[in-house]
């Protein structure tokens, strides 16, 4: 009897959850479907069954050189993330393992830099980039993204490092490990999962950053965000191709995101929700 009720409850909840999930996912799904249609099909009214052509993907590559912005996105996202990690790991390390009275203040201050609205510094940054010849360069944008995401990277690493119990470090000291051995044999292996999650989340954030990447590039260093934004001006109907480009722009990061959903919560709430 009780078991019956539970099963019925589960079926109801399942149906409701799937309906909600499919509605939310629908725009993405429909983009994927449209990308497999021909252009006339794409504007011929609602249909979930495409003719299954891959022509659009080929066209996007041959006509608009999709590969170039894609590579820019990869270089920018990965490059800025690694750069941020190199700068942030020692800091987060020091704050987690030799905290002082001011550690908390420094962390809060770092967080506060993240609150600065991008538009507020658009003018000086734009002028500086122009004067230093950094506009539309990969290097300029990489530095930019590194700085933008540095506070989040420090914070995420800090929350992970802080969870490494102090007693383990003391045990290592009792066992005769010097500082270097402590780092190599004990701390690094324990810190790797946290560093990996930080890396993943930060790549996602950098990949999707859509203010500086659009404003500070034109063609050479333009990543996918700018590439897609350039489609906004209506130059005739080319939805199937647009869908193909969109699908390619979001697919890699979508898959990466699925793997990192657990860490996402922690990272984006600065450890406030686990």
């Amino acid at each position: 009897m009780a078991r019956n009720v539970t099963t019925r409850h589960k079926v109801t909840a399942t149906v409701a959850a799937w309906v909600v999930a499919l509605i939310i996912f629908f725009p993405i799904l429909y983009t994927l479907i449209t990308s497999l249609k021909t252009e006339p099909e794409a504007i011929a009214g609602f249909s979930l069954i495409p003719s299954g052509t891959f022509e659009n993907y080929v066209t996007v590559q041959t006509q608009r050189d999709y590969f170039k912005p894609f590579m820019n996105s990869v270089v920018l996202a990965v490059g800025s993330t690694i750069l941020a990690l190199i700068i942030a790991i020692p800091s987060a390390w020091a704050m987690a393992f030799s905290p002082t009275k001011r550690t908390k203040d420094i962390l809060m201050w770092m967080l506060s830099t993240k609150m600065m609205p991008a538009v507020a510094v658009l003018v000086p940054i734009y002028l500086m980039f122009r004067d230093f010849g950094l506009l539309d360069t990969r290097i300029g944008l990489t530095v930019m993204l590194t700085l933008i995401n540095l506070p989040i990277v420090v914070w995420m690493l800090y929350t992970y490092f802080r969870e490494i119990p102090g007693e383990i470090l003391e045990a290592a000291r009792m066992d005769g490990a010097g500082l270097w051995q402590e780092i190599v044999y004990v701390l690094t292996p324990m810190a790797v999962p946290g560093i990996a999650s930080t890396l993943l989340l930060n790549i996602i954030l950098a990949w999707n950053e859509a203010f500086w990447t659009i404003r500070l590039t034109t063609t050479n260093a333009a990543p996918l965000t700018a590439f897609i934004a350039s489609f906004s001006s209506p130059q005739g109907l080319f939805w199937a191709k647009l869908s193909a480009a969109s699908t390619m722009a979001i697919a890699p990061i979508l898959i990466l995101g699925w793997f990192s959903q657990k860490q996402l919560v922690r990272g984006l709430t600065f450890g406030a929700v686990k």
Partner: protein
């Protein structure tokens, strides 16, 4: 013993990130502040002079300014309302035992990973287009006239798009918080005779309070700066109907070439963001002490 050495080492390790962020924060901000008191137009860069509060006055008297402030608030408020209420509802649903929970979760969080320009274009062309969008198809199916969303309800359309992007974030965080609720507490409440509604009001909602605060504050930080969605869909129009403060500053600076005016707007944006930041920092800071 080694404590003094350790401290010095720790300072050295922290120095790069602290210095970088310090420079990154202070230099551009100081420049913005400086520019905001100058007559400085990129079309006439040789002719720079002190402007006093003229730029602020100019910004303040521009009707677009108040409209953009209002639009900013509508976007922030509207998106928060949709994502928090919707997020709680969906989180409650996903917290039930369901078949294929893993897949459902993945479907629900996916929009968060879609880059803003793509999200905006998908909605603009595939969903909300008055001629060929899915919503138009649905309207036609029922014999109704399709709505030209971006012409008739530009701000609302943008709210919908941005809410779609942030709903997964709210849902995911609220679901995480929900799952940390002690199962025994729920059972105790059930034994005490609390029905689902009472359990929600007296047990679940207070438990979610902190997560909701965090969602609101973090989203606000990002929502104050909504940019790409507007650029790609309405470009701020019609008129200034869908221009928020961020977009107005961008227009002033890079379309109007008015460095001084844009900088004054930037300073106003900083002040606005700081008000929000103040509350966020307190919420996060409290958590640090725990």
């Amino acid at each position: 013993m080694a404590t003094q050495n350790t401290k010095t080492l720790a300072r050295l390790m922290m120095a790069p990130s602290v210095l970088l962020l310090l420079v990154w924060m202070i230099v551009p901000l100081a420049m913005t502040l400086w520019f905001s008191f100058q007559n400085y137009n990129l079309l006439n860069p040789g002719n720079v002079s002190f402007a006093g509060f003229f730029n602020y006055q100019y910004f303040y008297t521009d009707p677009a300014f108040f409209q953009s402030i209002w639009n900013t608030l509508v976007i922030v408020g509207g998106v928060l309302l949709i994502t928090v209420v919707g997020g709680i509802a969906i989180a409650l649903l996903l917290d039930q035992p369901i078949f294929g929970q893993g897949v459902v979760r993945i479907l629900v969080i996916s929009p968060f990973f879609v880059m803003p320009p793509v999200a905006a274009l998908i909605w603009k062309n595939m969903i909300m287009h008055p001629g060929y969008g899915v919503l138009a198809d649905i309207a036609k199916f029922f014999g109704l006239r399709p709505v030209d969303w971006f012409a008739q309800y530009p701000l609302f359309s943008i709210v919908i798009i941005v809410a779609w992007q942030w709903l997964p974030f709210a849902t995911l965080i609220l679901l995480t918080a929900l799952q940390s609720l002690d199962g025994e507490q729920k059972e105790a409440a059930e034994m005490d005779g609390a029905n689902f509604f009472n359990r929600f009001i007296y047990l679940v909602l207070p438990h979610l309070a902190r997560a909701i605060t965090v969602v609101i504050l973090i989203q606000t930080i990002f929502l104050l700066g909504v940019y790409a969605e507007i650029l790609v869909t309405t470009n701020g129009g019609p008129g200034y109907a869908s221009t928020n403060l961020a977009f107005l500053i961008y227009r002033t600076a890079l379309l109007g070439y008015d460095v001084g005016g844009a900088s004054a707007g930037g300073i106003i944006a900083v002040v606005l963001a700081n008000i929000v930041a103040f509350f966020l920092m307190r919420a996060v800071g409290k958590n640090l002490d725990r």
